[in-house]
């Protein structure tokens, strides 16, 4: 009953004309960048972050949230029509979506992707609404040692985003921690890693690193080749986008599977929507009566991953909004946005800013309806974006990046830093270093160091305070488990090899 009251309050915030407009702008931009291959929500949110500084935080979060979940809707269009994922989470959709398009069923594939996204996206918002407030209440008992444990756990789980090499992910995270500690130490006013440059005394602006590593790194990576890919024809007329009754019947389980799997994987920091969509696709194939047909263009192969990557967004917002722990690069940027707007993400945030949390939740219900409308009848129109030449798109991204950084600080030094971080982002991609752990390290580094130093002040330098309190001890034990489990696994594999 209490939740319903808060939700109604949230709708009161979300349906104000300005917030509706921001929600629509966010969903629209999200769909556009989801469709554009090579430009993800993290890069877009980073680029637009400076423009939100003059906005009301609730409206800004509603817009950035719209970009985040809207991009998941748009990503399927490119997967189905181009066989290129518009967004990393839509990789799995290529498998059956593109095959359906090749068979002349692009319309129903796009339609079922939008319907699955809507159902699962809405499920994700319900989950967020029901789980976040009690979790935040539980976390109110946390003190500095628990926060340190929580952040260590968040960083360790972020390393799960590692891709192939956990060592590289950890190194990227440590570089993030190093960048976070640049500038003046808040406890003692000591200058750290400023290289004698007075412009470094305030540290490196998060916006500069995020835009450089994500936006410029991504665009520079895409500039390796000169031309794009050929697109399959887009069905004309919205009636051709409607899936058949049989399609809907075939997807019943896929809708449930995508929603549940996507949401719960989203809640786990570090797992991410790409993993959610792979697992959901795997489950769908495993329980299917015709698993051999997966990969040849079955409609469930589109519904399950598309549902999962949309439900995941609701789940991923749970640890970010309640504990201040981002689970991915995009939620790390959203978390940094909250800090830059002067808010304190953590257990008290929902209690202290009910209009922000419940306004966001309500806007997500509205946004999912907007996205269904944008992605069903209007998808042929959106698909035309894919015809936009890259030689126009990329200069625009470079321009927005420069303007975004310069408008934050009016400093040419920061634009130089942007150039440096753009190169770093490209090199990281090229050398297979994941960029998300770097951003997680950067966002959490400062708070983590503060929590550690406050904990040790509480115990007068005795490190045992971190393991003598049950919650922090559990979190640090889980952190160690995550970090060392792969080593045990490897050692075991070597042992077995040596025996045989």
């Amino acid at each position: 009953m209490e939740t319903l009251g808060y939700l109604l309050h949230g709708f009161g915030v979300a349906i104000s004309p300005m917030n509706l407009l921001w929600c629509f702008i966010g969903c629209f931009l999200g769909t556009v960048i989801g469709i554009l291959p090579g430009l993800g929500p993290a890069a877009t949110i980073a680029m637009l972050l400076p423009l939100t500084f003059q906005m009301n935080p609730t409206s800004a979060l509603i817009m950035l949230g719209g970009i985040y979940y809207g991009s998941k809707y748009g990503g399927s269009t490119t997967s189905i029509l181009l066989n290129v994922p518009g967004e990393s989470a839509s990789v799995v959709t290529c498998i059956d979506g593109y095959e359906m398009a090749k068979k002349g069923r692009a319309g129903p594939a796009l339609g079922i992707a939008a319907i699955a996204s809507f159902i699962a996206g809405t499920f994700g918002v319900v989950g967020l609404m029901l789980i976040a407030p009690p979790l935040a209440k539980f976390a109110l008992a946390f003190s500095s040692p628990e926060y340190f444990g929580l952040m260590a756990l968040g960083l360790a789980m972020g390393v799960l985003l590692a891709g192939e090499s956990m060592t590289k992910a950890l190194l990227a995270m440590l570089v993030g921690l190093w960048i976070a500690s640049m500038g003046t130490d808040l406890f003692t006013s000591t200058s750290r890693f400023t290289f004698g440059n007075s412009e470094m005394l305030d540290g490196v602006d998060f916006v500069v690193v995020a835009i450089g590593v994500f936006a410029l790194g991504e665009v520079l990576g895409n500039m390796e080749i000169r031309e794009g890919t050929q697109m399959l024809p887009v069905p004309k007329g919205w009636r051709n986008l409607l899936p058949t009754w049989q399609d809907m019947k075939d997807c019943r389980f896929a809708f449930v599977n995508g929603s549940v799997v996507g949401f719960f994987i989203g809640v786990l920091p570090g797992a991410g929507s790409t993993i959610a969509s792979f697992i959901s696709y795997g489950i769908e194939k495993a329980v299917s009566k015709h698993p051999e047909k997966f990969g040849t263009g079955v409609v469930e192969g589109v519904a399950a991953p598309e549902g999962a990557n949309n439900a995941e967004t609701g789940g991923a917002l749970v640890p970010m909004l309640t504990l201040g722990i981002p689970g991915s690069g995009t939620t790390a940027i959203l978390l940094a946005a909250l800090i830059l707007w002067g808010l304190k993400p953590g257990p008290l945030m929902i209690q202290d800013n009910p209009q922000l949390f419940w306004g966001l939740v309500a806007s997500m219900y509205i946004g999912n309806v907007m996205l269904l409308v944008l992605n069903m009848p209007l998808v042929p129109l959106f698909a035309q974006i894919l015809r936009l030449p890259v030689y126009i798109l990329y200069p625009v991204i470079f321009g927005i990046s420069i303007v975004g950084v310069y408008s934050t600080s009016s400093s040419l030094f920061d634009t130089w830093m942007l150039v440096v971080f753009g190169l770093l982002g490209y090199l990281m991609r090229k050398l297979d270093y994941p960029s998300a752990p770097l951003i997680l390290g950067l966002v959490l580094g400062d708070s983590m160091e503060r929590a550690l130093r406050q904990s040790l002040m509480m115990s007068q330098g005795d490190l045992s305070i971190l393991v003598s309190r049950p919650i922090s001890a559990t979190m640090l034990f889980l952190t160690a488990l995550i970090l060392f489990a792969p080593l045990f696994k490897k050692a075991n594999a070597w042992r077995i090899k040596a025996i045989s």
Partner: protein, 166 residues
């Protein structure tokens, strides 16, 4: 054609080494050593608890340890694990675009955003994407003018102004 982080095929016969991992590992190890040296210059534990050198010292040590591990594993794997091919022509394209961006940022103070960005866009369209001069000029002028109209005029966002006053 070379391989990512690898030597040319002729050298690979002598020992297949992941050059990319080794070079990046060595750079990060160097960074770790630098962090440790700097951190040792700051207070480790003071009367009020850990000082500014406490946290950097530990992540510096972790960085050195992980970098050494990365280099060691790459050397140990040698030719056993094949690497991805790298196309130096593609890398060259990116480096050219990046150098263009750096030049654009360097010219912001002298030429202002509109002109410097216009020249950079022209370079991307005409040189990087080999479009006709007319197209390159149209795109460069179009994007510069749109940015100028949108940011300083419509949104009141400050952009770098050059010696020419815009």
């Amino acid at each position: 054609m070379l391989r990512i982080g690898r030597l040319a095929p002729a050298v690979q016969e002598e020992g297949d080494i992941k050059i990319g991992d080794i070079v990046s590992g060595a750079v990060l190890a160097g960074l770790g050593v630098f962090i440790i040296v700097e951190a040792r210059g700051w207070e480790y534990i003071g009367p009020d608890g850990p000082g500014p050198g406490f946290f950097p010292l530990w992540y510096g040590i972790a960085m050195v340890a992980l970098s050494v591990l990365l280099v060691g594993v790459s050397l140990a794997q040698g030719a056993a694990v094949p690497g991805k091919p790298v196309n130096w022509r593609e890398v060259g394209r990116v480096m050219m675009a990046w150098a263009g961006l750096a030049l654009c940022v360097g010219l912001l103070k002298v030429l202002g955003f509109a002109l410097a960005f216009g020249l950079f866009t022209f370079f991307l369209v005409a040189v990087m994407y080999r479009r006709p001069l007319g197209t390159a000029i149209a795109v460069a002028v179009g994007t510069s003018v749109t940015f100028y109209l949108l940011f300083p005029l419509a949104l009141n966002v400050e952009l770098p102004i050059g010696k020419l006053g815009f």
